[in-house]
Symmetry: C2
Subunit: 719 residues, 2 copies
């Protein structure tokens, strides 16, 4: 079974090789004229300067934490944590290198036609997809191979027989500590990248719009706007690097939480045999490997189809990859022949051994993810009633538009939540709590494909920006706009999977944490219990449910304050040099870039620290039941806010686009103005708040899992 | 101890007598000229027509449910449920009669001066306050006296010794069934009154503003506006009748949940003696009675102070009443000498008998309520930084104003939630889960005073409307505006207590439900456990957390759709009879009233049915753990949305007022326009969504408590 690690390791290497191939493919295309190169260069510089600055700060935090971990636990955990942080950071840097160097080439290729442009953009996007999956799995499998004794059945068996789960309050379940340290490192990067990138991108976007479009009436992406490069940089640091780090973290978390569950189950269940243990332990690794293979096939499938219908290419690629995941998983499951009887409160009550049980969990995960995506498409696309209705109701003004947009988002939580609920029940009935982790992995296993599509979008968007700034033929912009629109629709599917998988992964992390904290008392039960109506749990739930709200407020305020500073700078530049607006002298792009960058980095600090400190505060002061409450309460609010803001913002954005397509009077009408304001309100909701919710809750959960053995059972005042 | 029932019964009678006295006092004032009378008459007619129509529909629902209850349980429960519904409905009708007949008299008194106007308004408002407390306690004590055998220690003792808690799956804890049926009846009225009233008032308000102020530029409350009477009617049905029914329900729920807790504790705890039982059982009744006495003293205190400083009068009245509650409660506690040792997981672990323990819980409740109120004042008053900052940031436009308003509300959840968390821990440490119910009661016991102040506000508001419509001297309007402003500030205190007490009361209802559902298996344990990380509980939590969002969306859409219909009607009237705008012919007020009324009644139905159906669906399909999850998940989202919307809406409203007071350029500036739009967005949030959250969750909880014994332990597919 250990060969699974080698299998996935080599598959991950193959993914990285494919990434290199794709990158070379993208970079082999011509870059265009001098002006285009200059613009692209400015974006590259800005993005890499921000990411490096951000990385420096995060590195400092990460190293402090690593030293702390090494001191209180073992040095290896500190090192592994840094490894997790390193792979995430590297994936972000490489992926963003690809995207910032592909964008200009897409603009140039668009001169030749749609197919060339699409092919270039997809090559560039697939780099991020492939390195996210590749780097993270190379790292994880390497770590597991180096410390393979810690994952051996003998290690678990000795804990099971001696009953010694901890020494001096510190966990001896070394395997769990190792994988959770790795995931913790990835989470740390993801949190800061997501929050920093989210604040950066929206502050630049709002400022560019507020002064450029509204005050000076110059078009979007106009080279005269000092904020325009920052805006384009924002797309890269937010939608490329932030998203990549986020999904990488989800992916790793879903794998390691399943591994942790297996190890604790093996300690608790005296009947689990060595072969059963290894099969359960390595199945997630195998499925991850299989998923990478499926995604590579899917990417190849898209690249080889010489169609000019980008939407059809991406969708059929998606279906192809999904089916490939199912087929490959089925083959893996068949060869694994897991004969473990999932039972107990956490696993199916009247369970019988059936090798297909974990497969059903994968199917439940995949189907749930797919349904959630379709629902969010229904609520946010202008092809359907909700957005059309929202656009129509804007006739009575801004207030009704925004009120309607908020109501739409709130109401849109119904079906996704019922889908998640059914998915949880299904995955659980199939293979217990193990199945919930496996279901999350099912949704995320072909991450290399979904991230490719997610990254392709901002590249096309940036290409359009460069075309505009460099004053290319409007036809070029038309092509890139078309590619961008396709990307938006397809990316919506990725969003559904991101939200769904976050719910499942967070849930399995929370269960793992409860097992981890049970080490304190040496009682790892197959059926762990946290009394929901115990006063400390309730207090934890209430505080946890509040955190995502408070966190969201910090993010929105961060965006507004930075946008405000940028607005002042843009106004200052226009005033001090009137030639800028005439197009006779270039604005100082770098000042804008550095203002947003400094602002985003300073504003990401407090939310980040809160996410790190809260589990400790709750765990130490109020005990493990309260912390379990904080995590679950946080998860509840985070899912709701994530769905609510994503769909509210998406619908308000598309209501505007619907009007701009010429409906209901089109551009320039009061109705159009109302939808523009609505879009601006929706922007920080959908692009800063929504995407940060997943990572907030998963960072808190993985941190709790890692430090679980330290937290007392009761609050400090009850000792 | 049974004498407690008589004590509170007679106190409640005294409150009703005082209400009659106050009503006569208010009605003895002159009504003013013919035009004023006509306007007042139109409001009276409109409000009473709506309330009667609404009552008819609710009566139908209530009777159907009563028959259903009588058939599956016992006829007495059906009858008691109708009694609970009846007292609530009567309190609403009487209180609204007082408010709609006082408003015009306040306008007339204002001609004489501030003191006269204040005195009249407060007399009118106190009628609602006194009947809310009086009627509900007359009803409850009467019911308990009639069925006193069901509350006898012998009844509990026989269950304790035989272990027979249910027959054919139906509860034999008759006392709990009786009080929860009573509370259920009150909840039913509260839900529909709150939702119907909330939709009515905001639809009328928005329509009157959109056509009147924005399109035709006529002032607020202008007699030419066909929607203006409907707008004033809305203040009465929403802010008076809706609020009264809501608070009455909270009040009853906090008392009966404590009673239910005591009865279940007595069954579970074999050591509880008869005297201990009676003391614990009747303490909430005694405190409710003491609270009424305190409130009557407080109301008298305000009436007798002949000050023209309305704000000082109301605030000092508040402090006086709060102190009186503490003193009277301390006396009651001293005489009760409760020597029960609160212990077990639910009650203090290392408890010792101390007669002051329940008193500490009351203090924790009161202090928590007070702090929450002060925090919400800080976030929503223009005297403090947040609102000023919001007004200033509106310089960059509508979008930043609204985004900032939403962020303010989200961020404002931090301190109230931490206060609630500390309050729960404090109340629990003092006297266990019993203490949580008692803490809720502590906050609500002087309801007669807080509702008086809450009702005084809309009366002053209406008086201003009548003054405007009847074209009185602007000085009159100035006086009524001043009274209204004072009412708003003081009412904010009531809001804090409403949210805080709802959290505590809902929590004790949920615990009672869990005991109630434990009857199914005959295992009523002193330390009930619901495993939070069981899959069905988690599914319940997720679904529960979604419900308040979905419910909010329905409410906002209901308001928008009704406002839209009204807008069309107002436009039609202006078009078909141009004399209306010239002031030469009267508009058809009644058509507007009937459109809003019909709309509100039709839109209240779906949210109401969802609140009633959900507990059944969850309980029957997924079992009691899932239902417990639904209730707690619902509570979490409901508290967050309640605080978030109340403070967002309040801050946006006051940011507008801050500008209108002449700050930042004052009226007519683009900044002012931005704040007007913000206020319109905030309106349905703070006046329709926010106030409905409490009752949504409490109705679901009380319904679950009542039907608890019917729900299976496991989901239907696990049988």
């Amino acid at each position: 079974m250990e060969n699974t690690l080698y299998f996935t390791f080599f598959v991950a290497i193959a993914a990285v090789l494919m990434a290199i191939f794709m990158l070379r493919n993208a970079l082999s295309r011509p870059e265009g004229d001098k002006k285009m190169k200059a613009m692209a260069h400015a974006i590259q510089e800005g993005a890499s300067a921000f990411l490096k600055e951000e990385a420096k700060r995060i590195a400092l935090v990460a190293i402090v934490i690593a030293v702390f971990i090494s001191l209180i636990f073992r040095i290896r955990y500190g090192v592994v944590m840094l490894a997790g942080a390193f792979v995430s950071e590297m994936a972000g840097l490489v992926g963003m290198y690809a995207s910032t160097h592909t964008n200009v080439r897409v603009a140039q290729s668009a001169k030749k036609g749609l197919f060339e442009a699409f092919s270039t953009a997809f090559s560039g996007g697939s780099v991020m997809g492939l390195v996210v999956a590749g780097f993270s799995m190379i790292g994880l499998t390497t770590v597991m191979l180096i410390f393979k004794n810690s994952f051996a059945f003998s290690a678990v068996y000795s804990i099971r027989t001696t009953g010694m789960t901890h020494i001096h309050g510190i966990s001896v379940v070394d395997g769990v500590m190792i994988v959770s340290a790795y995931s913790f490192g990835a989470s740390l990067i993801a949190l800061f990248d997501r929050v920093g990138g989210g604040i950066y991108t929206k502050a630049a976007d709002m400022a560019a719009d507020l002064v450029g479009k509204v005050e000076e009436h110059i078009p979007e992406d106009d080279a005269r706007n000092p904020a325009t490069i920052a805006d384009n940089v924002g797309d890269n640091v937010g939608d490329v690097a932030g998203l990549g780090a986020d999904i990488l973290e989800s992916y790793v978390a879903s794998i390691i939480s399943t591994i942790a569950i297996v190890m604790f189950m093996a300690i608790a269940d005296k009947n689990m045999t060595s072969p059963q243990y290894y099969k359960l332990l390595y199945l997630p690794i195998a499925i991850a490997g299989g998923g990478i293979v499926a995604a590579m096939l899917g990417i190849g499938f898209v690249k080889l189809r010489r169609t000019t219908n980008a939407r059809a290419a991406l969708s059929s690629g998606n279906i192809f990859t999904g089916v490939a995941v199912l087929v490959i998983s089925a083959i893996i499951i068949y060869f694994f022949k897991i004969d473990y009887v999932f039972q107990g409160k956490f696993v199916l009550a009247r369970g019988t051994a059936n090798i297909w049980r974990p497969f059903f969990s994968i199917v439940f995960g995949l189907v749930a993810g797919l349904i959630i995506s379709k629902i969010s498409e229904y609520y946010t696309s202008y092809d359907y009633k909700p957005v059309k209705h929202l656009a129509e109701s804007s006739q009575t003004g801004v207030a009704i538009n925004i009120t309607g947009g908020l109501a739409l988002g709130m109401g849109s939580t119904l079906w996704p939540i019922l889908t998640i609920a059914l998915g949880i029940i299904g995955a659980y009935l199939a293979s217990g709590v193990y199945g919930i982790g496996i279901a999350a992995l099912g949704m995320l296993s072909f991450v290399a494909y979904t991230v490719s599509v997610d990254t392709y979008g901002p590249i096309a968007d940036n290409a359009g920006g460069i075309a505009q700034m460099a004053g290319l033929d409007p036809k070029v912009r038309e092509i890139t706009d078309g590619l961008d629109a396709v990307g938006n629709t397809t990316a919506a599917i990725g969003k559904g999977f991101a939200i769904g998988s976050a719910a499942f992964a967070a849930l399995s992390l929370i269960v793992s944490f409860i097992w981890s904290s049970a080490q304190r008392t040496g009682q790892i039960s197959l059926n762990p219990v946290i009394n929901m109506i115990g006063p400390y749990t309730i207090v934890g739930l209430v505080i946890g449910a509040m955190l995502p709200y408070f966190f969201s407020a910090l993010l929105i305020n961060g965006v507004s304050e930075n946008a405000f500073l940028m607005v002042k700078e843009v106004r200052r530049q226009f005033k001090s040099d009137p030639k800028i607006l005439k197009g006779e002298s270039l604005p100082d792009y770098n000042r804008c870039i550095s203002i947003t960058a400094t602002g985003a980095i300073s504003k990401m600090f407090l939310p980040g620290v809160i996410a790190i400190i809260m589990p400790f505060a709750a765990g130490y002061l109020l005990g493990k039941s309260a912390l379990a409450g904080v995590l679950l309460g946080g998860l509840l609010s985070a899912i709701m806010i994530a769905i609510f803001t994503a769909n509210s913002g998406g619908a308000m954005d598309n209501a505007k686009k619907y009007v701009e397509m010429g409906n209901l009077g089109g551009r320039g009408t009061p109705l159009h103005d109302a939808t523009i304001v609505g879009d601006t309100v929706g922007d920080p909701l959908k692009d800063t708040v929504g995407p940060s919710m997943d990572i907030l809750i998963k960072l808190m959960a993985v941190l709790s899992l890692f430090f679980g053995s330290l937290f007392p059972v009761l609050p400090f005042f009850m000792k």
